[in-house]
Amino acid sequence: MRGTMIRTAALAAGLLALAGPAAAQRPLKVVTSTTDLADLASEVCGNRCQVVHISEGYQDPHFVEAKPSFILQLRNADVFAYVGLDLEIGWMPLLVQGARNPRINTGGSGNLDVSQAIRVLDRPTGNVDRSQGDVHPAGNPHYWLDPENGRRIARLFRDRLSQLSPADAQTFARNYTAFEARLNAAERAWAPQIAAIRGKPVVAWHTSWRYFAEYTGMNIVGFMEPKPGVPPSPSHLAGLIATMRRTGAKVIVMEPYYDRRTADFVAQRTGARVLVLPPSVGGVRTITDYIQLMQNDVGQLAAAVR
C-alpha cells in the first residue's frame, strides 16, 4: 500500500515538474482584429507568440461577421489587440462577450486598445450625431497607414508583451529595433516617391486614407462617399465630378471591397484613373507585411499622380 502511494506521488511530482516549465514557456497567444496589427505583433514577437487575426486585409473591417468560430480563437487568447475608436464596434463586443475570457475584457491584462498610442485625427470637436453619417465620435480609426503610427503600434506591442512575458522582453526589444531599422530604411528609399505625391489632388472613397494623406501629403479634394459610410448619391457624384475638374484631380483612391463601377463612372467623366489600393496587409495576395503594404501604396500612388 505504502509503495503504491509513493509511486503515485512520484508520478504526480514528475508530471508537475514536466508541466511547470512547459506552461512557463508557452508562447503568448495574440489575437488581433486586423491583419496589420497581426503583422506588427509578429514583427515584435518573432517566434515567441502565436499570432492570429480576425478580419482579412481585403475585407471591410467595419463589417466583419461575428462568427462563433472567432470566439474559439479568443477564448484562450492572452492578448486581444484591436484598432479601437469604434472601428470594430459592429462585431467585436459580441466576440469578446462570447469568448468569456476575463483576460481580454475591458480592463483585463490582455485587452489592448491600440488607439491609445496614436495621435488621432478627425476627432469631432462639436456635437456629433448620425446625420453626419457613420461618424466615429472618438476620431478616425484608419491610423495604421502612417509609418509613424506603425512604429507606435509596434512599440505598444513591445511594451505590453514584455510585461506579460518578461523572459522574452529582450527578444521583443531586439525584434522591435530590427523592425524599426527596416522601416526607416524603407522610408528613406521611398522618400522621392513621397515628394512626387505631395500636394497632388486626389479623390478617396472613404476617410480611410486620411492618415495616409497626412503622411504622403496627397491632397484629398473630395470623397466618393457624401458622408462616412453613406453610399454615393447621383447628386453628390455630380458635385464631385465638378470638384475634380476644378482641382485637376486625376486619381480616385479606393479600397478593394467597394464597388468599382461607381468609381469607374466618375473616372470616365473626368479622365481620372481609379487606383485600387490595399488598405491592409493581405489586401492583395502579394502584400504580406506592413512595410510591403506602405511601399506598395506609396509606389502605386506616386506612379499614378505623376
Binding site: Q59, R123, A138
Partner: protein, 453 residues
C-alpha cells in the same frame, strides 16, 4: 405553450414550502458566488503583479511619447511632434463610459397594414407604433454585465422585455445569467422582433409561443466547447414558467409549486465554417414545463384549470454565404426550423382533489410546425426575402394546419434605419385565406450596436 386563448395561467399566489425556498436561495447563492472566486482565478498564467506592471509600463510609455512630442524630439518618434498641430489627442474612446453611464439606446418599430380586406393587426389599426424599446446596458462591476430592455406599446403599455445580469468572469467557458431573457429555443426566438428580416416571427413561433416569442424569468447557463474542432455551445435554463400566464385560469395549486412545474430548456448549438465565405449552424432545442389548461367547470368555480406537461422539441439550421471582399453588396441566408409540441394527455376527464370529475379542455395531442426562409442581398442597401410557413394549429382538435407564403423587400438607408414592405398569403387553419400587405419602419438611436449574427 400555445398562443391565446389557452395560454398557461396561474392566478393563485405562490407560496413556497420552506424546503423549496431554501433550495432556491441556495441555488441563487451558488450561481452568484461562483462568479466572484472565478474572477480571482482569471489570468492563471500571469500574476497580478505582472498585470499591474504591464499597465504601469504602458502608461509610462505613453507619457514618454507625449513628453517627447512636447519637447520637440527630432527622432523618428519625435517627427510626429512636428506636425502635431493639426492632430488630435491620443486614442481611446471618450463618451458615456468615462462618466460611468450605461449605453442607452432606443429602437422604434412602426407597422402599417394595408391588407385589402382590413387590418390584420391587433386592435385593428392600419398604422401603429408596435413597440418602442429602450435599452440600458453596461458592466455592473468586474463580475457582471447588466442589460435592461423596456418595451412600450399601445397594446401592452410598459413591460419589462428583458432584464438580466450576466457573469463575465466564470472559468471553463461558462456563462450564467439571472433575470428575464428571450428563451434560447430555436434560432429566431432569441432575435428581437425588430431585428428580424421579416415583419413578424414565423407562424410556428407565433402559434406555439406567442406573437412576441417566448421569454422566461429565471436562470440561464451556457458553456462553449469544441472537442470536435468546431464551435459548440450548450445553453440550459430553468425559468418560472413557460410563457405568460393566462389571466383567469386557476389550478388547484400553483403550477410552479413543485420544481417539476418550472420550465426547463436546453439548446445545443453547432457551428462550422464551410469556407471563408460560407458557414452553417445546425442546432437542437428542447423545452418542457407544466401549463395550466382549462377544464369544464362552472364560471363561479375557483379552480378552473388543470396543469399538464408540455414538451417542445426543435431543430434549426442557418446557412450563410457572404464573400469577404464583396460582403458589402452580396450575401445569402437560408434558414429553417421545425418544432414538435408534445402535450401530455390526462384523458378526456380528470379528477379534481375534491373528488369531482370534469372534462379536460386542453390540447390532448401533439402538434408540429416549421418554416423555411431565404434572403438574398440585391445591393448594398437592398434585400429580397421569402418565407413559407406550415404549422398545425393547437387550438384545433384535429390539428388543422395553417399555411402561409410571404415575400419581403427590405431597404436600409443606413445601419440605423430600415424600411420594408411585405406581402403574405395566409391560410389559417379555420376560415378563409387572406392577403396581407405590411409595411414596416424601424430606427435605432444611441450607440452603435453589434450586428446580430
Amino acid at each position: 405553450m400555445n398562443a391565446a386563448p389557452d395560454w398557461p395561467g396561474r392566478a393563485n399566489e405562490t407560496t413556497y414550502p420552506k424546503t423549496q425556498m431554501r433550495i432556491s436561495i441556495c441555488t441563487a447563492v451558488l450561481v452568484l458566488g461562483a462568479a466572484i472566486p472565478a474572477a480571482a482565478q482569471q489570468d492563471t498564467t500571469r500574476t497580478q503583479a505582472q498585470r499591474d506592471s504591464a499597465a504601469a509600463a504602458d502608461s509610462a510609455a505613453i507619457v514618454r511619447e507625449l513628453q517627447g512630442m512636447q519637447g520637440g524630439d527630432t527622432t523618428a518618434t519625435g517627427r510626429a511632434a512636428a506636425d502635431a498641430g493639426n492632430a488630435g489627442n491620443t486614442g481611446g474612446a471618450p463618451g458615456p463610459g468615462q462618466r460611468l453611464l450605461p449605453d442607452i439606446s432606443v429602437v422604434g418599430d412602426f407597422v402599417g397594414d394595408l391588407s385589402p380586406e382590413g387590418s390584420t393587426q391587433e386592435g385593428g389599426r392600419r398604422f401603429g407604433v408596435r413597440e418602442v424599446e429602450i435599452a440600458a446596458q453596461a458592466a455592473v462591476d468586474p463580475y457582471f454585465r447588466g442589460d435592461v430592455f423596456l418595451g412600450f406599446s399601445d397594446e401592452e403599455g410598459v413591460s419589462i422585455e428583458q432584464a438580466y445580469l450576466t457573469t463575465t468572469s466564470l472559468p471553463y467557458g461558462l456563462e450564467a445569467r439571472l433575470g428575464r431573457f428571450l428563451m434560447p429555443f430555436g434560432k429566431l426566438n432569441t432575435t428581437h422582433r425588430h431585428d428580424l428580416h421579416t415583419t413578424e416571427y414565423p407562424w410556428v413561433i407565433q402559434t406555439f409561443f406567442g406573437a412576441e416569442g417566448l421569454k422566461g424569468t429565471g436562470l440561464y447557463a451556457s458553456r462553449v466547447f469544441s472537442p470536435l474542432g468546431f464551435y459548440q455551445e450548450l445553453q440550459v435554463t430553468a425559468v418560472d414558467g413557460l410563457g405568460e400566464p393566462v389571466e383567469g385560469l386557476n389550478t388547484a395549486e400553483p403550477v410552479n409549486k413543485r420544481l417539476g412545474g418550472l420550465g426547463y430548456s436546453a439548446r445545443l448549438r453547432n457551428y462550422v465554417d464551410l469556407t471563408q465565405a460560407a458557414n452553417l449552424e445546425l442546432s437542437f432545442s428542447a423545452l418542457t414545463g407544466k401549463l395550466a389548461r382549462p377544464i369544464d367547470v362552472a364560471e363561479t368555480d375557483e379552480v378552473n384549470a388543470y396543469a399538464t406537461r408540455q414538451t417542445t422539441l426543435g431543430a434549426d439550421f442557418t446557412f450563410r454565404w457572404r464573400p469577404l471582399q464583396q460582403g458589402l453588396y452580396r450575401s445569402v441566408i437560408l434558414q429553417g426550423e421545425v418544432m414538435h409540441q408534445i402535450n401530455a394527455d390526462p384523458g378526456a376527464t380528470i379528477r379534481l382533489p375534491d373528488g369531482t370529475t370534469v372534462a379536460f379542455e386542453g390540447p390532448r395531442r401533439d402538434y408540429t410546425g416549421a418554416y423555411a426562409f431565404g434572403r438574398y442581398q440585391l445591393s448594398q442597401r437592398t434585400f429580397l426575402g421569402a418565407r413559407v410557413d406550415w404549422v398545425q394549429d393547437p387550438t384545433t382538435a384535429d390539428a388543422d394546419a395553417l399555411t402561409a407564403g410571404s415575400g419581403y423587400l427590405e431597404f436600409y438607408p443606413s445601419e440605423f434605419s430600415k424600411l420594408s414592405a411585405a406581402f403574405e398569403r395566409l391560410n389559417p387553419a379555420i376560415g378563409d385565406g387572406v392577403n396581407r400587405i405590411l409595411l414596416q419602419a424601424t430606427f435605432a438611436l444611441g450607440p452603435h450596436k453589434p450586428h446580430p449574427f
